[in-house]
């Protein structure tokens, strides 16, 4: 383009078009994710109901949302239901807290002594790789089919999920920070409380998230296996008599538990991630 000066063409870069936004429009832009997400959810249920009404989904096997709702209303009035809920919740809480209380101190200890952590690494990884449901028959041999079995299963799931990240957290404490402690002649105990433990907390939070995700499946399978009490048993009994409304209601209860625990775990982890220098995205592990 040497001699075309007189007729040089220009590309014009224009500014962003100004659009008058209504209040609704502005609200939408700010909350787009929630708006679309909710509409997705609503669409799902509406579609489900419509397909059920049209007979494209067999009502017997897979109840419509209306059927589930009706079953729900009926169930919450029965005391047996609340008994089952209490049963399941107890398993989860007791098992989880027990696993937390044991796994964290042990993890800190094992992680701190390098040789110890090397020695335990293969066993911990091995045990962690075993699918929790596979341990059920073994645990049954130990404690029978009662609530103890479910608690132990939940405990085992939580224990290994928490201890592994904890060990890793202790092992990967920034050497520089420890150097700072040493240079100020901090005692072993102070090193631990002021450097190691705070540095490990994000890892523990990750472990908690993993644990909460996995323990729910342990609960469900344990209950289905043992057939004593709990929401899992409610599901099974309903399936037996083809009461799909009640069955799906039970599933919904677990969904609720799952959503709450996942959300809670995510929040906890997020809160403790803030002071981590660079977080590796650890993809979600859920039920």
């Amino acid at each position: 383009m040497q001699s075309a000066d007189a007729v040089a063409t220009y590309r014009v870069i224009r500014p962003r078009a100004r659009r008058r936004r209504s209040a609704l429009g502005r609200w939408y832009r700010r909350n787009e994710r929630a708006a679309l997400g909710l509409s997705g959810l609503v669409t799902f249920f509406v579609l489900w109901q419509v397909l059920s009404n049209l007979g494209l989904i067999n009502d017997l096997f897979f109840s419509s949302p209306a059927g589930v709702f009706a079953a729900a209303v009926a169930e919450v009035q029965k005391s047996r239901f609340w008994n089952d809920v209490r049963y399941s919740l107890t398993e989860v809480t007791v098992g989880f807290i027990a696993s937390l209380v044991l796994a964290v101190p042990l993890g800190l200890l094992i992680g701190w002594y390098r040789r110890l952590s090397f020695s335990f690494d293969p066993w911990l990884n091995f045990l962690n790789a075993i699918p929790r449901p596979a341990l059920i028959p073994l645990v049954v041999l130990w404690v029978g089919l009662g609530i103890e079995m479910k608690i132990v299963i939940v405990f085992l799931g939580g224990f290994f999920s928490i201890i592994l990240p904890t060990v890793e957290g202790v092992r990967t404490v920034d050497q520089q920070l420890l150097d700072v402690g040493h240079s100020f002649r901090a005692s072993q105990r102070r090193l631990f409380t002021s450097i190691v433990i705070p540095a490990t907390i994000p890892f523990i939070a990750t472990g908690v998230r993993l644990a909460l995700g996995r323990l729910l499946i342990g609960v469900v399978v344990a209950e289905l296996y043992a057939q004593t009490e709990g929401i899992g048993v409610m599901i099974d009994r309903a399936a037996d008599v083809l009461d799909s409304g009640r069955m799906l209601f039970g599933v919904l209860i677990f969904t609720l538990m799952g959503v709450l625990t996942t959300e809670l775990a995510g929040r906890i982890e997020h809160r403790f991630q803030r002071w981590r220098p660079s977080a590796n995205v650890d993809l979600e592990e859920g039920p």
Binding site: G37, N125, T255
Partner: protein
């Protein structure tokens, strides 16, 4: 005038012996094996000396004997085969459908928003709770197991794939846009390579999920497979065999996990740091 005396350490006349050197260079491996062996020995000793009832945990020697017996007779091989088929069929079906779907969802922001709550809800549901329904509908055969494995793996993969696409470094997408790359080219040259390491991690997690699916399905209603093997032997108080089944599962899980991890490491350079 005070002098601070920093003591003098005499130099060692001779260096560390050859065994010590070997240990130092492979410390992790050495202590790992040592730990493994020590625990196994303690396990054996505790059982043999009656520190606990053998019916609870069995001992390595008995587990080994059971292994020899059952592998020799070939019975357990059928179960392994059965479980293996369920696993691979379900897993690969889920990957074939889930990964492309996850990529598509991740690419389009509005679509991702639309399905986000739905996905979160289904993902948080323990799929095992649906197991009774599936068994009711599909029976006790191979189909119900594959379906359950599929369900568990599928949602795990979709969620991890979407997360992977979202973390494809914004900067790289900007660069592609800056040079005028078409949407398709952006996908091929930036999004896909960027997402790949995250896909691998997602696959590794999914293998664990799939394994759980296999076991759950088999424990609840089956007459073959490792889950069934464990359950049946549990019912007959054959603790050694129960332990054998568990050990085999653990081994499989570890090997699979390690395998994917190796591949992950190879592509580690492609992973973007999230600040």
């Amino acid at each position: 005038m005070a002098t601070v005396s920093i003591g003098s350490t005499p130099l060692r006349p001779a260096g560390p012996g050859p065994l010590r050197k070997l240990i130092n260079s492979n410390e992790r491996l050495f202590y790992g094996i040592l730990g493994f062996v020590v625990v196994a020995l303690i396990w054996e000793a505790a059982g043999d000396f009656g520190l606990y009832r053998r019916s609870l945990l069995s001992v390595p020697s008995l587990v080994f004997t059971a292994a020899v017996q059952d592998f020799g007779s070939g019975k357990i091989l059928d179960d392994l085969w059965s479980s293996g088929i369920e696993f691979f069929l379900g897993f690969f079906a889920a990957a074939a459908v889930g990964i492309p779907l996850g990529l598509a969802i991740g690419m389009f922001r509005r679509v991702e928003y639309f399905v986000s709550y739905l996905l979160f809800g289904i993902y948080s549901t323990p799929k095992a709770a649906i197991a009774p329904l599936i068994i009711l509908v599909a029976g006790i055969g191979l189909e119900s197991k594959v379906i359950l494995v599929f369900l568990l793996t599928f949602f795990s993969l979709i969620v991890s794939t979407v997360a992977g696409v979202k973390s494809a470094a914004e900067r790289h997408r900007d660069i592609a846009r800056s040079f005028g790359a078409s949407r398709w080219l952006q996908f091929r040259s930036v999004i896909l390579p960027s997402t790949f390491p995250f896909l691998l991690t997602g696959l590794r997690i999914a293998t664990g999920r799939a394994l759980v699916g296999v076991i759950v399905a088999e424990e609840l209603a089956a007459n073959a497979g490792i889950g069934h093997y464990i359950e049946e032997n549990g019912a007959f108080l054959q603790t050694s065999r129960v332990m054998l089944g568990i050990v085999l599962l653990g081994l499989f899980g570890v090997l699979l996990g390690e395998g994917v991890r190796r591949i992950e490491k190879r592509y580690e350079v492609w992973r973007q740091e999230i600040h």
